[in-house]
Each structure stands twice: as structure tokens, then as C-alpha cells.
């Protein structure tokens, strides 16, 4: 069949990346240049020099890698478990009746307050940090997945039935596309929360030897102790940058993954 009409393409596809990569950082630098002197904060140049100093000493890339490993591994465990339990409690209301109250109660326990306890039990090593990140990510992804699955429009289930779709088609062509926007939203929020917990966990202390030492959060605490505001702010901004990169990578990964899995490019109209 010859299509009579081509799909509508987004106008000026270069505009969005340009705004994100050029205009947004430029605006930030401009605002920082105005505000920083008023509060005796380091200039943009001083922050840049602090980054150069950390690269020269050899801590900068190592800290980024270590903090990223902690954040991503905790997020992966927490998100996978949260999504799994979210599907179960969303699909089977009896399970939600049994465990929903407990999960909600645990969701409201302050994760940062668990930090001293985890250090006391697990020490300053990796497991307590990854546990804390996973704990925080679990509840975010559970809540988002649970709501998405339990609120799945029943008309889609009936529609699938009326067209005789098999289980595989229902899952990948109807249910997954229907709940995936909420799932992706949950993943993005969980990742952001996870990175916040990484900072807190590293501020609580890290081991000082081996590959899994220090981290950006630890560098921030050292900068505060030594009154190095330039390094402090450089590390905070670096967290922001790697968080943005992870968020972008996550969205692209999920978009492409779902396209391969379902054969549907259902995010095309969202840009």
C-alpha cells in the first residue's frame, strides 16, 4: 500500500539539543557570575581551576567513577525489585491488601536516618552505601509501578480481548506501552533520589584505601573541612552533570529498548 500521507515530522529538530547544550549552561554561568560575588562564592573561573586541580591530582575522574558505580548499582537493584513488586501489587489487589500497608510504612521511614545504623552494622565499605541507594530507589519505583499497573485502563484489556490478541502481544504491544510512561517517570525520579543518597552516604564516611575509596560526596566533606568552596561547588556541579547524563542515557536506553521489544516507536510524538 502506498501511504498517501507521511507522518508529521518535528520541525527544527536541532533546536532542542541546542537549547539544552548551549543556552541552559550559558544562562547558568551568567546567573552565577551575577550572584556569586554578592555571597563571596568562587567565580566560574575559580571553579574551573578547582576541577583542573582535581584532575591534576588524579582524584576527579576516580571520584566520578566511584560515585557513579555506587549510584547505578544501587539504582539497578532498587529499581528492578521495586518494579517487580509494583507489577505484583498493581496486578493482584490481594497482594496489595497484604503488603501495601507495610510498604507504605517503610516508604515513609527517612532513608537518610538509616545512615548511622547501616554504618554501624556494615561499616564504611560499599554494601551499606549500595543498600541505602537501593532502599531509596526501591520505594520510588515500587510506588510508580504500582500506580501505573493498577490504573491500567481496563478498556485496553477488553479491546485486546475483542481483537483476539495473545498474551505476548497484550504484554508488549498494549500493556507495556500503556504503563511505560509512568515506569520511566519512576525510574528517573528513583535515579535522582539514588544520587542524592550517594552524596549522603559518602558524606557519612568512606574507606581510605583500595579502588572503592573516596567519591564525590567524600570530596565535598573534605572541601568543607579545608574551607575549599571552589572544590565543594565543583563537586556539587559535577553531581548535577553526571545526574543529567545518566537521566538522558536512561531515557534513550528505555526508548530504544522498548522499540526493540515492542516494535512500536510510541515516544515519537513526545520528541
Amino acid at each position: 500500500m502506498k501511504p498517501n500521507e507521511k507522518p508529521i515530522k518535528r520541525q527544527r529538530p536541532w533546536l532542542r539539543p541546542t537549547l539544552q547544550v548551549v543556552v541552559a549552561p550559558a544562562t547558568f554561568i551568567l546567573l552565577w557570575s551575577i550572584i556569586a560575588p554578592q555571597y563571596h562564592l568562587p567565580s566560574v573561573k575559580a571553579i574551573g581551576l578547582a576541577v583542573a586541580e582535581m584532575i591534576e591530582v588524579g582524584t576527579y575522574w576516580h571520584d566520578i567513577i566511584i560515585s557513579s558505580i555506587r549510584g547505578l548499582s544501587g539504582f539497578s537493584i532498587g529499581f528492578a525489585l521495586g518494579a517487580f513488586f509494583g507489577i505484583l501489587t498493581g496486578r493482584f489487589s490481594q497482594l496489595f491488601l497484604l503488603f501495601g500497608g507495610l510498604l507504605h510504612f517503610l516508604r515513609w521511614t527517612p532513608v537518610l536516618a538509616l545512615l548511622p545504623l547501616t554504618i554501624r552494622i556494615g561499616g564504611l565499605g560499599e554494601q551499606p552505601k549500595i543498600f541505602l541507594v537501593a532502599w531509596a530507589c526501591f520505594f520510588v519505583s515500587w510506588a510508580y509501578t504500582h500506580v501505573a499497573v493498577s490504573k491500567l485502563n481496563p478498556a485496553y484489556i477488553w479491546w485486546s480481548k475483542s481483537l483476539g490478541l495473545n498474551l505476548r502481544q497484550r504484554l508488549f504491544r498494549v500493556y507495556a506501552p500503556s504503563v511505560s510512561p509512568s515506569l520511566i517517570g519512576g525510574a528517573r525520579v528513583a535515579l535522582a533520589v539514588g544520587m542524592i543518597v550517594v552524596v549522603a552516604a559518602e558524606l557519612g564516611g568512606t574507606i581510605q584505601e583500595g579502588f572503592f575509596r573516596d567519591g564525590l560526596g567524600y570530596r565535598i566533606s573534605r572541601a568543607i573541612e579545608t574551607n575549599r568552596n571552589d572544590i565543594n561547588i565543583a563537586c556539587i556541579l559535577t553531581f548535577g552533570l553526571i545526574g543529567t547524563c545518566f537521566d538522558f542515557a536512561l531515557v534513550q536506553f528505555v526508548k530504544r529498548g522498548l522499540r526493540v521489544l515492542t516494535g512500536i516507536d510510541f515516544y515519537r510524538n513526545e520528541g
Partner: protein, 246 residues
Amino acid sequence: MDKAHLSIENLTVRYGKTVVVDSFSLEVDSETVVLFGPSGCGKTTILKAILGVSEYGKHVEGNILFNDKQLMHDDGYVGMVFQGPIVPSWMTVSALCRIGSKMREYSAKEQNSKIEKMLNRFGISNLINRYPYQLSGGQKQRVALAVTLLNEPSILLMDEPSTFIDGMTRIAIWDFLEKEVRTLGIPTIVVSHDPAEAIRLADKIYCLSSPAAITRSLDVPFAHPRNDSMLRNEDVWELRNTLISS
């Protein structure tokens, strides 16, 4: 097409202790039957029972027979056009047209040919690459019908096909159902609470009360094809008043 016969015997639907459909029986040949009644009287529940939708806490009793055999609920045997209508927003019209279980049995070439014919009949062949969010209410309704009919259902169910649609589009949809769907000879059950829609589409109208039980059945004696000007006929007005008062 062979004459088809749908028989519903003593259908009772309960949600917990609440009876929504009470011993409902209906016989439908290759004709269009309208279930007419107020909102919430259980009309849609009857359609869902015919479709075989299972819901938590729902209990269905009774027999649904098609050509004297127990009705199969899977394999797209029963096609349903939903109120709204339901067209997933992430698939193009082309992808939607190909998704049905019976469509998948055909080769890509056969699928293309069938889709082309169907969309041409429906006057929407120019929409094939569009997404549902790019369509108007009337276009969506026609797409939903085309997708359902492409799957070659043995029974067609329609839940308030012209609700949420503006007046002009509603008339176009009725004309379209009269011209393109009625002629297929599929037993068709339409749920409606609009007297004009019931009279335009039906061979028989069954008035329902709550919980869904037939209180009155009316034959609609007007010849097909019907058009909108017939609604000004005096006999139609009389039937319309009967429907409203029932």
C-alpha cells in the same frame, strides 16, 4: 453469508451481592438490535459478558450460544467497538489495522490489500500513517470500526457508538453504519440511550430497566437504507415518544 444466530439464555451478572443483569435472554439473527435504556442499567455489562470479560468479584451465569454452540470468547470471535472510542495512542492506523488475530493469519500483501479496501470503504485511507491523537472524534470512531471489522468478527458489539461526537459527525457515523456495517449481515448489538440513534440503526429495540431486564421490545418497521430525514416522519416521532416513555 450464512444466516447467523446469537442466543443469550438467562444471563445473570452479579458484582458481589449486587445483581446488575437479571435473567436476561435475547435472540439475534443477522440483524441490528439496540439495547435501549438509561445510564447505569447494565447495558454495557451485557456486552462485556458476551465479550467474555472477566473482572474481579464478577459472577456470570447463563448460556451464550452462537449458531447453537457455546460462544467462544477468544480469537477475536466477538468484535467490540468501545465507547470513547478505544484506540491506543502509540500505534499508527496502519499498525492498528494489522494487530487483530485473524489479520495476522494473512500474508503482508493480503493484509495490505484488505486494509486498503476497508479504509477506502470507510473514506479514511489518507489517515493510514497517522496516530490516533492526530484524528478527530469521528475519524477515531471509523478507525476503531475498521480495525474491528478487519478482524472479521462473527458478532459485532457497539457501545454507544456516537457518544462524545458532535451532531454532524454523529449523522455521518449513522449513515456509515447503515451503509457499510449493516450490509455485512453480522449479528450486531448496539447499546444506546439516544432514541434517534436507536431508531436509525435498529431492526429491533429492546428497552431495559435496572437491573438489566427487558421491559419492552419494539420492531422498527422502517425500510433500509434509512437516512436522517426519516427522523422527521410522524411514525418515527411516535416510536420515539414510546421509547422515551418506556
